[in-house]
């Protein structure tokens, strides 16, 4: 068996691939070829059927009923729960907060991650040390992160405002002011996840064939040009992966804002209540309207899918336009 595989020709994506896939018709049984793909993905779907599909269907069923968390199923109400929820001012507040925190966390996070990864991809001394150091925050449990940061961000007794005071700044009203509270929450998220995304980018960068860079160097491309013409297009699957997972995770943000104060309801004016917190408050809070909570869950699901698709389209466009440029070189 040989691993000699010449450097991949720069190819227009997708097109030449198709015939290759058909090429798998060797002596091995047809069934092996036909069934294996399904067999290999089956563990996920089997498990999903038990732990995912039922909850999903259950939620859908609940969302069209008048359903008290404890009291259980009531009358069928059709879309009424959805209508009720959308009309609540609090729902709009929650949407605003979620998007604000999402933008404040995911955008800087992805940009920082790709930047740091590019730096780490260089020929550094003590590589292992730097790489592990960057990932360090990820080992701190979210609960612990919240505990630590809630002490750092305390309005009067917190470290950050204390430090700001020494240079005659602040105090910043971390809890009262909506934007400040979003920044504080986003910084918890960024703290824990930037290093994680950095390493994912780094792994992908290492997989980029070095020959491409050599060729680029010969052609006299600058480092920056190399980055945008080779690295970014080659990272496309990874960028798509990170953008989609960050979108999903970001729009579902729950733990950090919930633990940002001791009441866990998102502030006195719900200034940092996110959609999942709203969902939780509807279902588990005082009202215990499981039906409305389920409706919010489905609305959120649809929003995530739409935003995810938009992000996917944008990301694909950006990185493939880069790829074309690279190809034309």
């Amino acid at each position: 068996m040989s691993v000699i595989s010449p450097p991949k020709p720069r190819r227009a994506p997708e097109v030449p691939r198709e015939p290759r896939r058909i090429a798998f018709r060797q002596r091995a049984g047809r069934w092996d070829v036909k069934l294996s793909p399904y067999l290999y993905i089956s563990p996920f779907f089997l498990l999903f059927a038990v732990t995912g599909l039922f909850p999903l269907a259950y939620t859908a069923y609940v969302s069209v009923h008048d359903w008290h968390l404890i009291g259980g199923q009531g009358a069928f109400v059709g879309m009424q729960n959805f209508v009720d929820v959308v009309q609540q001012p609090r729902f709009l507040t929650a949407l605003r907060n979620t998007f604000s925190i999402f933008l404040l966390s995911s955008v800087p996070q992805v940009l920082a991650a790709i930047g740091i990864a590019a730096v780490l991809d260089a020929n550094l001394r003590a590589r292992t040390f730097w790489r592990m150091g960057v990932l360090l925050p990820y080992v701190v449990a979210p609960v612990a992160v919240s505990l630590i940061f809630s002490k750092l961000f305390a309005d009067q007794s917190g470290l950050i405002n204390a430090v700001l005071a020494t240079v005659d700044l602040g105090p910043i009203r971390w809890h009262a002011d909506p934007l400040s509270s979003h920044v504080a929450i986003a910084s918890m998220v960024n703290f824990r996840w930037t290093g994680y995304n950095t390493l994912i980018f780094l792994a992908a960068m290492q997989a980029v064939p070095r020959d491409l860079y050599e060729a680029a160097v010969i052609d006299g491309a600058s480092r920056l040009r190399q980055f945008f013409s080779i690295t970014v297009p080659m990272l496309r699957p990874t960028i798509i992966f990170i953008v989609i997972t960050a979108t999903i995770g970001g729009l579902q943000i729950f733990d950090e804002p919930r633990m940002f104060d001791q009441l866990g309801q998102g502030g006195s004016d719900r200034q940092w209540m996110t959609v999942t917190m709203y969902l939780y408050e509807l279902g588990w809070g005082a009202q215990k309207s499981f039906g409305r909570a389920a409706a919010v869950a489905w609305i959120l699901f649809l929003i995530i899918v739409v935003i995810g698709l938009i992000n996917f389209a944008i990301t694909r466009r950006i990185s493939s336009s880069g790829s074309t440029r690279g190809g034309k070189r």
């Binding site: 968390l69 609090r90 007794s157 001791q262 006195s268 004016d269 005082a286 215990k288």
Partner: protein
């Protein structure tokens, strides 16, 4: 002791395609019989495991060991949650799923009200033997209209006033706890008046927050948000509006509040920096102050509460109907909430007993707290418990409604993003969206 029901087996057999399993477990479709058969017996030598779910500090650790010794056939498993919120999430999830609850579930009075309407999910614990065990209002809150008792009272939170005698002295107020009691004796206006006198001569505030003060005041109103039959009154009426206005005038205009949201990190730090001089103080608050104010001297507790007596907090032990051993669970709950045991819990963790007899117990009355200048806390709290007269009605909608007002207070007092009027408008909106009226 958990039985694997035949239903589960069938499910697994179906999933794995091994039909033979069905014969392996014999019994047929007698799941229900098996479940009940083992539970109602109650007597005899059968080994039984009871699970008890509590949260925070109940002081039950040693008591449960003692119970196991007294009842060799019973093993008790103690499941503890850190906070009452976590315990509530857990309880609600399991009630919604219809399984997985412990044989005894501790329930705080704050969320008892939302469970009362589902009393059929709990075992009726009423029993002539324990009928007069608790203070009347304690039992009343856990009794449904048709007389079902869903929980045995554990502790209560009779409120006194904790104060910093050193700050009092510096501001020219008396420091001795009897004199302070005499000084503060009266209604809330009087309490605020003394506060104004204090802040005029001190850098510290008079109390921690508007929210905590409102809590103390509204807990003396019989029907703040709901009528006794559960009819919603709401917040847009004079009783609530007056208290709201008074508290905010005192907190903001008269600068009596330290603007610290209760339980926040800033609040905890406020005990160290001496941010406020008094704290409304149910029995369990003593432990909170002692922890947060560690190293601070001067805290004391006075046998007085503005506007008469008041209760804040306290819990119940319930037996969910799901329990496989309801009789044994009931027996354990009855034993744990007997006066003797609750006095021990008080000595261990300071949870003040809700049992009539316990209030006369020499052990309880003899308890003093070194941190609070050796105050006879047992005696003071017992007197405060007797002073409780008003028992606020808390129906299923009490807490959603209450939250709309407490949020409004926080916006003005702590966040300072609104004034009293604009914040009240927001409270009305929030109340409106509850869809209760």
């Amino acid at each position: 002791m958990r039985k694997t029901t035949s239903k589960t087996w069938a499910l697994m057999a179906g999933a794995t395609g091994i039909a033979l399993l069905a014969t392996a477990c014999g019994g047929g479709d007698t799941e229900a019989d098996a479940g009940e058969g083992s539970s109602t017996g109650g007597s005899g030598d059968e080994q039984i495991t009871l699970t008890v779910a509590t949260f925070n500090e109940f002081g039950y650790e040693e008591l449960l060991d003692e119970y196991e010794e007294l009842n060799p056939n019973i093993t008790v498993e103690h499941k503890k949650a850190a906070t009452s919120d976590e315990a509530r999430d857990n309880l609600n999830t399991r009630l919604a799923a219809g399984s997985g609850l412990s044989d005894i579930e501790a329930v705080e009075v704050d969320w008892l009200s939302e469970l009362m309407q589902y009393s059929d999910m709990f075992v009726d614990l009423s029993d002539p033997e324990v009928e007069d065990r608790w203070l009347e209002w304690k039992t009343a809150a856990a009794t449904t209209e048709d007389g079902t008792l869903i929980g045995y009272g554990t502790d209560i939170g009779p409120e006194a006033v904790c104060y910093r005698s050193d700050l009092f002295a510096a501001a020219g107020l008396p420091t001795d706890r009897e004199e302070v009691a005499a000084l503060l004796e009266g209604d809330w206006d009087h309490y605020f008046e003394v506060g104004k006198q204090f802040v005029a001569n001190s850098d510290a505030a008079w109390f921690d927050s508007a929210g905590a003060t409102y809590q103390g005041m509204i807990n003396q109103v019989e029907n703040a948000y709901e009528e006794d039959d559960g009819t919603v009154i709401g917040i847009d009426h004079d009783t609530v509006k007056d208290i709201y206005g008074d508290v905010l005038t005192a907190s903001v205009d008269d600068e009596l509040s330290a603007h610290l949201l209760q339980w926040s990190d800033d609040w905890a730090a406020g005990f160290q920096s001496g941010a406020f001089a008094t704290q409304l103080c149910p029995g369990w608050m003593l432990g909170v102050i002692e922890g947060n104010a560690a190293g601070v001297t001067g805290w004391d507790v006075a046998d007085v509460f503005p506007g008469g007596g008041g209760n804040w907090g306290g819990s119940y032990l319930t037996v969910p109907a799901q329990s496989e051993h309801p009789e044994e669970a009931k027996a354990l709950a009855a034993w744990l909430t007997a006066p003797e045991q609750q006095v021990k819990a008080f000595q261990s963790k300071g949870t003040f007993p809700s049992q009539v007899e316990a209030l006369d117990s020499p052990e309880l009355l003899g308890t003093t707290e070194e941190f609070f200048n050796n105050a006879p806390t047992g005696e003071i709290l017992a007197k405060r418990a007797e002073a409780i007269t008003a028992t606020p009605f808390k129906g299923p909608n009490y807490f959603p409604i209450h939250t709309t007002v407490s949020d409004a207070l926080t916006r003005v007092d702590v966040d300072q993003t609104d004034d009293a009027a604009s914040s009240w408008e927001k409270a009305l909106d929030a109340y409106e969206s509850l869809g209760l009226s």
